[in-house]
């Protein structure tokens, strides 16, 4: 080869073993942690100490673990909700709004029906109302998409702001507690989800949802329809699938689960309703969904990881005075490394040969 050979060349690879793929992913995670150390050093803390504090505050104490689980539950739930949409290549980024609407519908019953119903029935009604409203909120853009081919990405996004706006109005208007307080009153204890092992029982619900979603996506007719439609609308039509129906049904299912998460958050965590009830979960869950490559079981791990990071960094703030937003930076770095490592799984890098018969170095 002459010296004009390009310094770096890329070649597609398809022959990597599963073991090696996971090795690369682990290495990427390790790299992210190492880069995180540099960030800590810049922020003026001892990196080892910082990681230690993060782990101690999130996993070291019972209260920490509870907090982690509490944070992971909505992430996992919404991640599961988004999975079928993303498998269908339907970009539902309106989970925020669907959570908010679900929370709103549940809150209506919590605020105005608590005296008329026994606790178990009330909670059930709240859950169903939340699912129904979440589904409705997700169905609106899906109907437009199915009938007029509108862009669901923008549509679902815009629906978020409408939902948040509606709740903000309720908060300051019809549902306001003390006049002028801009706060909706706390729920009656009958409308609060019971605790199991110190965390509201939603965590059992989302674990059941994991199993449900795994089976739904991999073994059912619906799941098959979603997968085919995601790959090719033409093929789906060819196979006799009703594209509009599948789109609508999947979006509604997604919205229903988001609505359920909204109910759990309002009832189990906040015990009231406010406009920031979703609190960015709808967006963070997109990360959960993609990092787990739409695998429901992997989502458990990823949502816990993100929850540990977020809990750990608030511990960091109290213990070491490092801003909590550092967790966002670390999360971003992990995400970048995880997504970036897929490149090395799919491509081989060939460096220019050192000598004419030099061995190919590949990364």
């Amino acid at each position: 080869m002459n010296e004009k050979t390009p310094l770096i060349r890329l070649a597609k690879r398809e022959d990597m073993s599963k073991k090696k793929i996971w090795m690369i992913r682990l290495l990427a995670l390790a790299a992210a942690i190492l880069i995180g150390m540099i960030i800590f050093a810049i922020a003026g803390a001892n990196p080892i100490n910082a990681y230690g504090t993060m782990i101690a505050s999130s996993l070291g104490k019972k209260s920490g673990i509870r907090q982690v689980v509490k944070n992971a539950v909505p992430l996992l739930g919404v991640g599961l909700a988004l999975a079928p949409c993303f498998r269908m290549r339907y970009w539902n980024i309106g989970a925020e709004g669907q959570i908010t609407m679900g929370a709103m519908a549940a809150s209506y019953f919590a605020l105005y029906w608590y005296a008329k119903l026994p606790s178990a029935v009330l909670l059930l009604v709240m859950a169903l109302a939340g699912m129904l409203f979440g589904a409705f909120w997700a169905a609106v853009p899906a109907i437009f998409k199915a009938r007029w081919g509108t862009n669901e990405t923008l549509f679902t996004l815009m629906m978020n702001y409408i939902a948040i706006g509606i709740v903000a109005w309720l908060q300051g208007g019809p549902w306001e507690g003390k006049p002028g307080s801009q706060i909706i009153p706390m729920f009656d204890s009958k409308a609060v989800l019971p605790k199991i092992f110190g965390v509201h029982c939603g965590w059992i619900l989302v674990l059941l949802l994991v199993v449900f979603m795994f089976i739904y996506m991999n073994y059912t007719k619906h799941g098959y329809e979603i997968a085919v439609l995601g790959e090719s609308e033409n093929t789906a039509r060819y196979a006799g699938m009703n594209v509009a129906k599948v789109t609508l049904r999947t979006a509604a299912l997604s919205g229903a689960i988001c609505g359920l998460v909204g109910f759990m958050t309002a009832s189990g965590v906040n015990q009231t309703l406010y406009s920031d009830v979703a609190g960015g979960v709808g967006f963070t869950a997109i990360t959960v969904c993609w990092l787990s490559q739409l695998n429901p079981f992997a989502m458990i791990v990823i949502s816990l990881l993100l929850a540990i990071l977020s809990r750990g960094s608030s511990g960091l703030q109290t213990a070491l005075g490092i801003p909590a937003s550092i967790s966002d930076i670390i999360t971003g770095i992990i995400l970048l490394c995880m997504l970036g490592c897929e490149f090395f799984i799919n491509y081989r890098i060939i460096w220019r040969h050192k000598e004419s018969s030099g061995k190919e170095a590949s990364v």
């Binding site: 004009k4 597609k12 073994y219 059912t220 799941g223 997968a227 090719s232 060819y238 196979a239």
Partner: protein
């Protein structure tokens, strides 16, 4: 003597597969060379290395006797090498001149100068291209000519054409060959990738044959013949015959009358189409690309709304039924199968990311009660197709996207045949397949015919339609311009009907 371009000892590997193995090849100026080889023999890979898309792992490339390093398409252009790809890389809303100007990076953007240059090249070779015409107003053949001008404008002396005739009518093909000969006379070196042996014989001076990534031989065209070339390609003697039998006991199976279809924008795609497809017969459908072939099959399969007309289906020993108004699923259940191979080979009828089993499931996913899909049945069908059609795949769960083109098409056609249809519609079933694999597919069609199936076969290659079909229906602009007997008609007659020049029997 220095060659226009010479490859020496070129090797290219993808992972553990060797796409090109120590290839030595050269072309001289003023020569048209055909590059022949089965699918996966490494033709395109080899040419992509000349065009700067891949970089060879080993070996050298010489242009005009000087060693060069082609690292990008721009390097290729600078060395005077231009490739015309099968799928045009043109922007529809731009004019010919604007498309040529794209990507040229010399001084300031001067469209007038480019237009003048386009005009000059067009006049020189007799292309007859108007530089200010928009691409979307052009015919397929004109678009191809713009691609050629694009390459010539950048000063290419070595032109590579990847299956240029696949999209052309016989008349347009003749015209293209005229252009190639004019360029040859002008001293250009031309490399033609093709599967059609009659074209190889008609236009090229030398033929280079690749097999399994290795250069087998380069021969002078006048010293060889199609049979010898095929044997070189395949590596053993093969028969290139279709045993066309007389239709046995033909009965009307599908009676289409007055079929009219419009697309969502109200444009008429099919107009008053009428014909009868008989059992035990292959009805070929010919036409320029986009004359309504796809729409016709989709309308019959229930995938396209029908404005007016009727499609009467008469299954063996059953009472006739109307298909218009039925869902695609009902039509499929009734025994009308469609195997459509779109341009990208996947995308319609197959799911690239899924394995054979899950692709077989596309036919049966909705069967059975309950909410779960049945995997057993499609798995059995996949095994059958795998064994019977000798599909080359590591496993029946291996994503079909990663299979070679021929195998993808075997999966598709095999699935439809496995459902024992009584009407089998197939479109472009051999799209991009090499000769050997194509004949396997033709013989599958013939086999279906002998079982009494009414086969409707949309094809691109007229020579094949003439050999394979019993009757040929010619579509032109969504209308039937004629139905001819394939045994007595000529290529010219069908070619004329395709453009309706000279008028078909019921032309308007």
């Amino acid at each position: 003597m220095t060659h226009a371009v010479e490859l020496k000892n070129i090797t290219k590997r993808f992972g553990s597969t060797v796409a090109n193995d120590k290839v030595d090849l050269y072309v001289d100026s003023g020569v048209i060379m055909s590059l022949l080889g089965e699918n996966g023999s490494g033709k395109t890979t080899l040419m992509n290395m000349l065009a700067g898309i891949y970089f060879p792992d080993e070996g050298q490339i010489f242009v005009g006797g000087k060693e060069v390093s082609i690292r990008s398409p721009r390097d290729a252009y600078e060395n005077g090498i231009g490739m015309i790809h099968q799928h045009f890389k043109l922007i529809d809303v731009f004019t010919a001149a604007e498309n040529v100007a794209l990507g040229i990076n010399e001084g300031k953007y001067d469209l007038k100068k480019v237009a003048a240059g386009v005009k000059e090249i067009s006049d020189k070779y007799g292309f007859g291209i108007d530089p200010d015409k928009k691409i979307y107003e052009m015919s397929v053949s004109e678009k191809q000519t713009v691609e050629i001008i694009k390459v010539l404008y950048r000063g290419a002396n070595i032109l590579i054409l990847d299956e240029p005739t696949a999209v052309l009518t016989p008349q347009e093909t003749e015209k293209l060959f005229g252009i190639l000969k004019a360029m040859k006379a002008d001293g250009k070196a031309i490399i033609l990738i093709t599967h059609k042996l009659n074209e190889v014989m008609a236009v090229s001076d030398v033929v280079a044959v690749l097999r399994k990534g290795q250069h087998i031989k380069t021969v002078r065209t006048e010293e060889t013949n199609p049979q010898a070339l095929t044997e070189m390609m395949v590596g053993r003697a093969v028969s290139l015959n279709i045993d066309r039998m007389e239709p046995k006991d033909p009965k009307p199976r599908l009676t289409v009358a007055g079929l009219t279809c419009r697309d969502s924008e109200g444009v008429t795609k099919l107009e008053n189409v009428g014909f009868i497809a008989y059992s035990g017969e292959i009805l070929g459908i010919a036409g320029i690309a986009g004359s309504g072939q796809k729409e016709l099959l989709e309308a019959i399969a229930g995938l396209r709304p029908i404005s007016s007309g009727s499609i009467i289906y008469t299954p063996e020993g059953k009472i006739p039924e109307e298909l218009v108004g039925k869902t695609p699923m009902e039509i499929k259940e009734a025994g009308v199968a469609l195997a459509f191979v779109p341009e990208d080979r996947l995308g319609m009828g197959l799911v690239g990311g899924m394995g054979m089993t899950e692709n077989m499931m596309l036919r049966t996913w909705n069967k059975g009660r309950g909410i779960f899909v049945n995997r057993k049945e499609p798995e059995k069908v996949a095994e059958q197709v795998y064994e019977f059609l000798e599909v080359v795949t590591p496993s029946i769960d291996y994503p079909v996207r990663k299979l070679s083109g021929g195998n993808v098409q075997k999966v598709l056609v095999g699935r439809e045949i496995a459902s024992s249809p009584s009407v089998l519609m197939s479109a472009y079933a051999v799209r991009g397949l090499d000769i050997n694999t194509s004949y396997i597919i033709y013989n599958l069609m013939e086999g279906q015919k002998s079982k009494g199936v009414a086969v409707i076969f949309v094809g691109e290659d007229l020579d094949v339609l003439l050999q394979l079909a019993d009757r040929i229906l010619v579509l032109c602009d969504g209308k039937v311009s004629g139905i001819v007997d394939a045994r007595t008609t000529t290529k010219e007659e069908v070619g004329l009907l395709m453009t309706q020049v000279g008028g078909g029997k019921d032309a308007n």
